[in-house]
Structure formats: structure tokens, C-alpha cells
């Protein structure tokens, strides 16, 4: 049974004339790493908010269809209850913190779960260790860099040991170093833990390597679902949509077009590109 089932989901914000999400159907299996990409205003963030019940419970609008999370329908379950299954990291690194120190921030969700003290301490230590933020435990979150803030937000979600982690464009407002920090944590989660990750992002390079499936969205609809290779190979389609494929893929596409080299399969990571380039050069 999939951990998340989205069935015929439609959503329209209150006061908006058009549907932000149109007939979304998507099943996500447990342990999967799903990346959802799409141009701005494609409805990505809105879809993210549907996954833990913030839509329809906290955000007003018209909601049709069903989202089933680990057997629970988000229409009937409270967000506070769904929070035990779905952890969420928001795009804005600043506004999502509730507490005045990194440590108490991570502990906040655990206090809500009414856990005993020993277990809380254990989980806080573990989560701070995973994101490598132990030395900043006493700092107020607003004093941290963007990348560090998002790592704390990830730790806060991780500590709750949810089955699903939703990351809503966590690197949108970060500098390259911050992006790198966040993606290394995501990569580590991917490699070491069996948690289901749903990542909304524009960073094709970063996810090409380790996404199981990529979902492409445009104007509130899912336009394509496939492996990174399937999705990124159709460079023309992506460019038309306004989604950038990895630069190496784009490079090979342009070379292919100019020189007619007939590269049978575009590389999607730097390593692959190096191999392919060497092969091409040797052939010359």
C-alpha cells in the first residue's frame, strides 16, 4: 500500500478565480525519494501543504478529492495528528521557528508528542547529529546562516521520526553554500535512513543523482512522471516548461543539435558527462 495516495485532488484558494491544483493523482511508496519540479506558480507549494493537512484545515479554499496519508484521510484528521506522520520543512527559513534556541526548537515537536524526557533528549541528540548542528545547540535560530537554519528545521522534523518528510523548496532563498549544506543532509538521509522524502525544488543538478522519481508540474497539473533520466532527457520539453535540466544535460543536448553527434543517452550527472565527453573525444 502506498504511504501517500493523492486521488483526484483539486484545490482553489479562497478568492482566487482559477484552480491552483487540477486533478492531481499520485501514489508515493514508502521509502521513495520523490522530487517535484515545476516552474513558479505551478502549484508545487500548494501540493506540499495538502500533504500534511494544512490544506484544507488551516488554509481556506475549495478542496475536492482525497489525500490519504498512511491510511488517514487528511480531510478528517487534525493537522496536529498528521504531524506525527508527515514532517514539514518550509521554504522560508526564518518564519518557521517557534523557540529561542536550536535545542528547544528541535524539542518543541517532541514536547507536543508528550514524550518522556529521556527519549526526547536521545532524539534531540540524534537529530542534531544527523544534520551536524550539535555545536550550535544553544544559539538562537535567527543568528544562524540560511543553510544552518534549514538544517535545524530538518532536524526538528526528523526528531519527530515521521514516516514522511516533506521539504518545500528548502533551498529557494539560500546561497550556494547553504544549498550544498542542505542537499548533503538530504543525501545522507536518503542513503542512511528509510524515510520517505518528498522534495519540492528547482535544483535539477542536486537531485539528478538520487531521486527515484521526478514529478513535473505545470499550471496546477502533473505533466510528467518518470526517473530523472527519462525526465531530463527531453531537454526541449523542459525548456518550454521553464524548468532547467542539469547543465551537463543541456550542454550535451546543444552539442548534439549543433554537431549531430548522435549521443544516444544524455548524461544527467557530472560523472556521467565526464565519461561521455572522454568517449566522444577519443572517437574524434
Amino acid at each position: 500500500m502506498p504511504i501517500i495516495e493523492i486521488k483526484n485532488l483539486w484545490f482553489k484558494y479562497r478568492g482566487s478565480p482559477k484552480w491552483t491544483l487540477k486533478n492531481i493523482n499520485l501514489d508515493i511508496e514508502e521509502g521513495e525519494f520523490i522530487v517535484i519540479m515545476g516552474p513558479a506558480e505551478s502549484g508545487k507549494s500548494t501540493l506540499g501543504l495538502c500533504l500534511n493537512g494544512l490544506i484544507p484545515h488551516s488554509i481556506p479554499g475549495t478542496f475536492k478529492g482525497n489525500v490519504i496519508v498512511d491510511g488517514l484521510n487528511t480531510r478528517t484528521e487534525k493537522v496536529g495528528r498528521l504531524a506525527r506522520i508527515v514532517g514539514m520543512v518550509f521554504q522560508d527559513p526564518e518564519s518557521q521557528f517557534c523557540m529561542m534556541s536550536v535545542e528547544s526548537e528541535v524539542a518543541f515537536g517532541l514536547e507536543n508528542l508528550n514524550l518522556p524526557n529521556d527519549e526526547m533528549i536521545e532524539r534531540v541528540e540524534w537529530a542534531l547529529d544527523v544534520v551536524d548542528m550539535k555545536e550550535y545547540r544553544d544559539k538562537p535560530p535567527h543568528r544562524l546562516s540560511g543553510g544552518q537554519k534549514q538544517r535545524v528545521a530538518i532536524a526538528a522534523a526528523l526528531a519527530m521520526k515521521t514516516k514522511v518528510l516533506v521539504l518545500d523548496d528548502p533551498t529557494a532563498s539560500l546561497d550556494p553554500i547553504g544549498k550544498y549544506e542542505v542537499f548533503s543532509v538530504v543525501k545522507e538521509l536518503r542513503e542512511k535512513y528509510s524515510i520517505t522524502i518528498i522534495l519540492f525544488t528547482q535544483e535539477a543538478e542536486m537531485v539528478a543523482e538520487f531521486a527515484d522519481r521526478i514529478v513535473l508540474m505545470n499550471a496546477g497539473e502533473i505533466v510528467r512522471i518518470g526517473t530523472p533520466r527519462e525526465i531530463f532527457s527531453d531537454v526541449d520539453f523542459l525548456m518550454k516548461l521553464g524548468v532547467r535540466p542539469p547543465q551537463v544535460t543541456e550542454l550535451f543536448h546543444l552539442i548534439n543539435k549543433e554537431l549531430n553527434c548522435n549521443v544516444e543517452q544524455y548524461p544527467i550527472t557530472l560523472d556521467e558527462a565526464v565519461q561521455k565527453t572522454l568517449k566522444l573525444l577519443r572517437r574524434e
Partner: protein
Amino acid sequence: MSELYCPGNTFFHKLSPQTKIIFTFLMSITALFIQMPLWNLVFLLAVGIPVIWLKFKLKVTSAVLKPFLRTAVVVTCAIAVSWLLFSGVGKPIYKVYDGIYITDLSIPLAIAMALRLLSLLAITIILVVTTREVDIIAGIRKLRIPYFICLIFALALRFIPTLYDDYHTIVEAQMSRGLELEKGSLLERVRKLIIILVPWLITSFKRVTILANALDSRGFIPLQPRSFYKEPRYSKTDYVMIFLSFAVFILVLILRYYFGYLAIIPWRL
């Protein structure tokens, strides 16, 4: 934004936050029951000397205390002057204006009130310099104040620096577009302030919306049972300190209301 807390390992740092809150609360009330310049001075010295000691021990920079002191001077002067002129008791000794007199009682009262305020300030400084905000909230929580009230305090404290940064970003952004805050008539300046306030309010509302979503998605349900992370505990020193605070408080009450000391006009606080 400067933070007031100064890390250290003094007697006051080792006290648990709830003890310090009880101490602060009781000593503040005690200060309000003393109304005689000499005794106010004694009390001020009693709470002021630890402050001076902390200042040197922790190397608290003047910059940290400056905003505190500036407000203190203004408020103290205002209170002293108002008691001096409007106390309405005693024999007039100097006429300032029709119906406004400085009296034989208003001079000591004004001094007492000023000293009282300075003692309140000193007590507060001890608390905020030796206790992290996070621990103050934990202390309030430990004193069985309902959690949602603590959370409101915590969120307010947590958002002050964020909103402060937002404000400055907006001021800088508007200034880089040619807004001159310092120029123009009063009306124009007010209008310019609106140019700052509107985007600031919009940003703040956005932040609050995200925060509400974040609280929800972290499993927060108001009034549900919850556990507390690293709850502060009482040590022996804490009990002694709480006992002493109560003792001083009760002593002052007895001195004032049973023996009739410590007050110039006993029927007023």
C-alpha cells in the same frame, strides 16, 4: 539587537530560573512597600551591589546596559518630578504654579519613588543578565502558568529580532530608492513612516501565517497534554533563596503594617 544574557558561572546563573522569577517578583513587590528614602536606599544598595558585582564579574559591556539605563533615567525623572509636584500631601513650602506646590513630604516621597524604581531596575537586570530567555520561559512554565501563555511569550520574544531585522531591511530598501526619512515637515515624516510601515506589516503578517502553519505541522494542539524538555529542577540553594525572598517580603510587610515603619504616608503604597 543586543542580547542581555551574559554567560557565566555565578551564584545567580546556578539558581534555577523559576527561583529567579520568584525572587524578582517578590523583591519587586517588596520595593513597592518601602516608602522612606533611607530604607529605599538600603534596599537599592542590597540589590544594586550584586548588579555592580555582576557587571565586573561578567564583563557586561556598557552597550548592553545602555538602553536599560537610558529608559531608567527618563522614567525615574518623570516619576520623581510628578511626585514632587502632584503628591498632594504635606505642608506647602514652595509654590510652583496655581495649585501646584512642593511640600515638606513631597521631597522625601519623590526621592523614595526614584530609589524604588532604580531598585526595580536592578532586580530586573539581575534576572535578564543571568537567565537566558529560553530559561525564563521554562521557569514560568515550571511555575504552572498555562502553556499557551508561555508559548505566546516565547513566540513574542522569538520574533522580536526577526521583526527588527525586517524593519531595518525595509528602511534600507526604501532609502536606497531615495526615501529621506530625516527630511521634511512633521506631516511629511509621518507619511514617510507609512511607506515603511505598510510593507513591514505585510511582511509580519506573512511571517505569522507561516508560523501558524509551522506550529500546526509540528504537532502543536492547544491544551493537549505535553511533556517538557529538560525541565528545570529545584536545588537546595533554590529552596534557601526562595525562603529568603519570602522572609524579606514578610519582614517588610510586618515592619510596615505592624510597627508602622518604612512609610511616610502609610495609607499609600
